[in-house]
């Protein structure tokens, strides 16, 4: 039995222990996926490219939550708030200060990291469902904060802000959508590699030690408070980058775009993708983008119910999400090779 299988067999806790080597894909598979992501846009319509861009963006946001929950074992229903801060940071900088879109992304990352780190401080006293509730409050408050009168000059209030979509630089012969896709892909790959390395590093091991047993971790000398807030900060920072990219791709920010529904979608994406399995984040993102459309095409009036049934089936049949499917596939390939 491989380590990953053991993890599944023993997984009774809310966030089960995922060994760090089971958190990623093999190098070969990763390269194949990357090649597909590079080549496919050349053969499809702009609309599909736009959907793929959104998939990467939501994938990043789910990945951020995955680091927080799958890595350090903390729950958050407040990711939509960090996403909104990132989106608004980019939108305001681009539209009011005329700053280049690419430069707004590191700014969002820093601001959101700070925001997440600070929010992580009081959150230290909370754990499990209490933490989930506190972050839930953050998500509910965010759209209303964005509507505040004294911020309206910057945020555009309820009307939101329209963002200008960037053209491809250096006169490259590609559409805005395709350029933005490759730009997003580059950012996503960078963040993905960063995340994998983070979880393999000393900090990553500290996150996982805290997730598995806080008391044991602290007695081994891990600074629990520091690493818990750090996980919040990193997660918020990545979510902020996703928010920035989302604002540029959608070309519009408004408080109604970042409601609690978004936070729940991201949470759902993480569960469907497999908690703690980083590549699953993108499978989860695909689920939250495409399954509602499928449900709608099945029945317009009952789209919510159809979505519910599909979600129920996923949770019932593959409770560990895409990771379980991937491991099953891996075993199948392994068996075929032996025969």
């Amino acid at each position: 039995m491989s380590a990953a299988e053991e993890a599944i067999a023993e997984g009774h806790e809310a966030v089960e222990a995922v060994p760090k080597r089971a958190m990623t894909l093999g190098t070969g598979t990763s390269l194949v996926v990357l090649a597909a992501l590079l080549v496919v846009p050349m053969f499809v319509k702009n609309f599909i490219i736009f959907q793929m861009t959104m998939l990467l963006i939501y994938g990043l946001a789910v990945l951020a939550l995955n680091i927080l929950t799958g890595g350090s074992g903390q729950f958050s229903l407040g990711q939509s708030a960090f996403y909104a801060v990132g989106a608004y940071t980019s939108a305001v900088l681009m539209e009011h200060a005329n700053i280049n879109y690419a430069l707004t992304i590191p700014v969002s990352a820093v601001i959101c990291f700070g925001f997440g780190y600070l929010f992580g401080k009081p959150a230290l006293r909370l754990s499990g469902i209490y933490l989930a509730l506190a972050t839930f409050a953050l998500a509910t408050a965010m759209p209303q904060l964005l509507k505040l009168n004294f911020l309206e000059h910057w945020t555009g209030g309820v009307q939101g802000l329209v963002v200008t979509k960037p053209d491809a630089p250096f006169g490259l012969p590609m559409s805005q959508d395709m350029w933005l896709y490759y730009f997003t892909l580059a950012v996503t790959v960078a963040i993905y590699i960063f995340s994998v390395n983070l979880l393999r590093s000393r900090s990553g091991r500290a996150f996982m030690a805290i997730r598995d047993n806080e008391i044991a971790a602290s007695s081994m000398g891990v600074n629990v408070a520091l690493y818990k807030t750090l996980a919040f900060g990193v997660s918020a920072g990545i979510t902020g980058v996703a928010g920035s990219l989302g604002a540029i791709a959608v070309q519009f920010v408004a408080p109604d775009s970042y409601t609690i529904t978004l936070a729940i979608s991201l949470f759902l994406g993480m569960v469907v993708g497999g908690v703690g399995w980083l590549p699953g984040s993108f499978v989860g993102a695909a689920f939250i983008i495409f399954v509602p459309n499928m449900a709608e095409s099945i029945s317009k009036g009952l789209s919510g119910a159809v979505f519910g049934v599909l979600l129920f089936l996923v949770i019932y049949l593959v409770p560990h999400g895409a990771r379980q499917v991937a491991i099953f596939g891996q075993q199948l390939v392994g068996k075929l090779r032996k025969n």
């Binding site: 009307q159 939101g160 329209v162 959608v250 775009s257 529904t261």
Partner: protein, 409 residues
């Protein structure tokens, strides 16, 4: 003034282009993607799920109405293919659905997409793609902006014109009024408030004694009513959505505050607001209307209302006839059918906008008598008149003339 002249020059150039392109096309058939000899593909985006799902009934009424048109042979021999998607009132989703409609389904135009934030999210995209965003289902004033957004057009009277009409009435009949305003703290409430202040002009500052706002998340607005009463205001401008409007009418009666009460059209439904609030409490309330109310007994024998009810029974029996959304859906779908008829065999996007911007005295049967739809290349507000009405007994009584109030974006 160079910027203004530049804009004017651009606008006149655009008009000249439209004029030349249509004059050559009048004889032969011309199509943009989405239109063929047998079909006109129309896109639509509605919140069938999510916080605003109550409005989804508008899209379902429209689908039913287009089915009726198709059963009767279509428009100039072409069947309508109505593709309606759900955006759950979430702007990013609206963008995705709009792009799907334009780039994947290749519709001729998007019709009656609902909500101010969703439509704001796609306005720039639609205008850069030069695909009509026709008769959007929101009363925000900004849709009437043909110079900057020549591919976007509203339909219903905008919020600002309604409160301007109240302001006109107040200045004429109640020049010494002390006005208390209650408004919802969002774009809708603020748009209404702006109309009122613009309408009152220089006297706004002295006449309005209190501007009180509430959030939709509040369970009740009772405390705001008490506060308004305490100011001694004798005119109450009630800019609230149905649930809160009913609460306000009830609370006024409870605490014995009897100002002259102006209720915005959004909440003028007899069935969903006045009846629950109690007929006794609503006597003398003034509002403005442009559509006939199905729950109002005075239209029981009206030919237009009968046609609407027959349509509902035959094509949309599961729909709620007393829901204002069905009347709106029916009226706006009829307006679109008229525009498409006028397009003849030139079903290009430019011609759809051109015909939509040249409606003259068009009436759908559900509009109040005397209200007509008029548009022009500089007027993208199809319905800009309303009539005042006062609540008496169990129904609204129209009074005064149809008042026209133009408010640009």
């Amino acid at each position: 003034m160079p910027a203004v002249t530049g804009k004017l020059a651009a606008a006149s150039l655009a008009l000249a282009l439209i004029a030349t392109s249509t004059s050559t096309a009048s004889a032969q058939k011309k199509y943009d993607s989405g239109a063929t000899d047998t079909e006109i593909k129309i896109g639509n985006i509605m919140p069938y799920s999510g916080p605003a799902s109550a409005y989804g009934i508008i899209g379902r009424t429209e689908a039913a109405y287009f089915k009726k048109i198709n059963d009767e042979g279509g428009i100039n021999g072409r069947k309508i293919n109505f593709i309606s998607y759900d955006d759950a009132y979430s702007p990013p989703k609206t963008v995705e659905q709009a792009r799907k409609l334009v780039e994947s389904d290749e519709v001729l135009f998007i019709f009656n997409s609902l909500g101010t934030p969703p439509n704001s999210a796609i306005q720039k995209y639609m205008n850069s793609k030069k695909v009509p965003q026709l008769f959007v289902a929101t009363g925000a004033t900004k849709w009437n902006d043909p110079q900057n957004f020549p591919w976007t057009m509203g339909w219903q009277p905008n919020y600002q014109s309604e409160t301007q009409i109240y302001a006109k009435y107040i200045l004429k009949e109640l020049p010494n009024a002390k006005i208390g305003v209650l408004y919802q703290n969002d774009d809708y409430g603020k748009d209404y408030l702006k109309g009122l202040k613009d309408g009152l002009g220089a006297k706004a500052a002295s006449m309005i004694v209190l501007e009180e706002s509430y959030e939709t998340s509040e369970p009740t607005i009772d405390n705001h009513i008490v506060k308004l009463k305490a100011t001694g205001a004798d005119v109450f401008i009630n800019i609230t959505t149905p649930k809160f409007a009913a609460q306000a009418i009830k609370k006024n009666a409870e605490i014995g505050w009897k100002p002259i009460h102006f209720l915005n059209n959004v909440s003028a439904s007899v069935g969903s607001v006045i009846k629950p609030a109690g007929f006794d409490n609503a006597q003398g309330i003034i509002s403005a209307a442009y559509l006939k109310d199905t729950t109002d007994a005075q239209w029981a024998n009206d030919a237009g209302m009968k046609a609407f009810l027959d349509f509902m029974t035959k094509y949309f029996p599961e729909g709620d006839k007393t829901d204002g959304g069905t009347v709106v859906g029916y009226g706006v779908a009829q307006t679109l059918v008229q525009v498409l008829k006028n397009c003849g065999d030139d079903l290009t996007r430019a011609n759809v906008m051109k015909q939509a911007a040249s409606l003259k005295d068009f009436r759908t049967e559900v509009l109040l008598p005397g209200i007509k739809i008029n548009t022009s290349p500089t007027d993208f507000a199809p319905i800009s008149s309303l009539q005042l009405q006062r609540f008496k007994g169990e129904r609204w009584e129209l009074f005064g003339d149809v008042i026209n109030a133009e408010a640009g974006g």
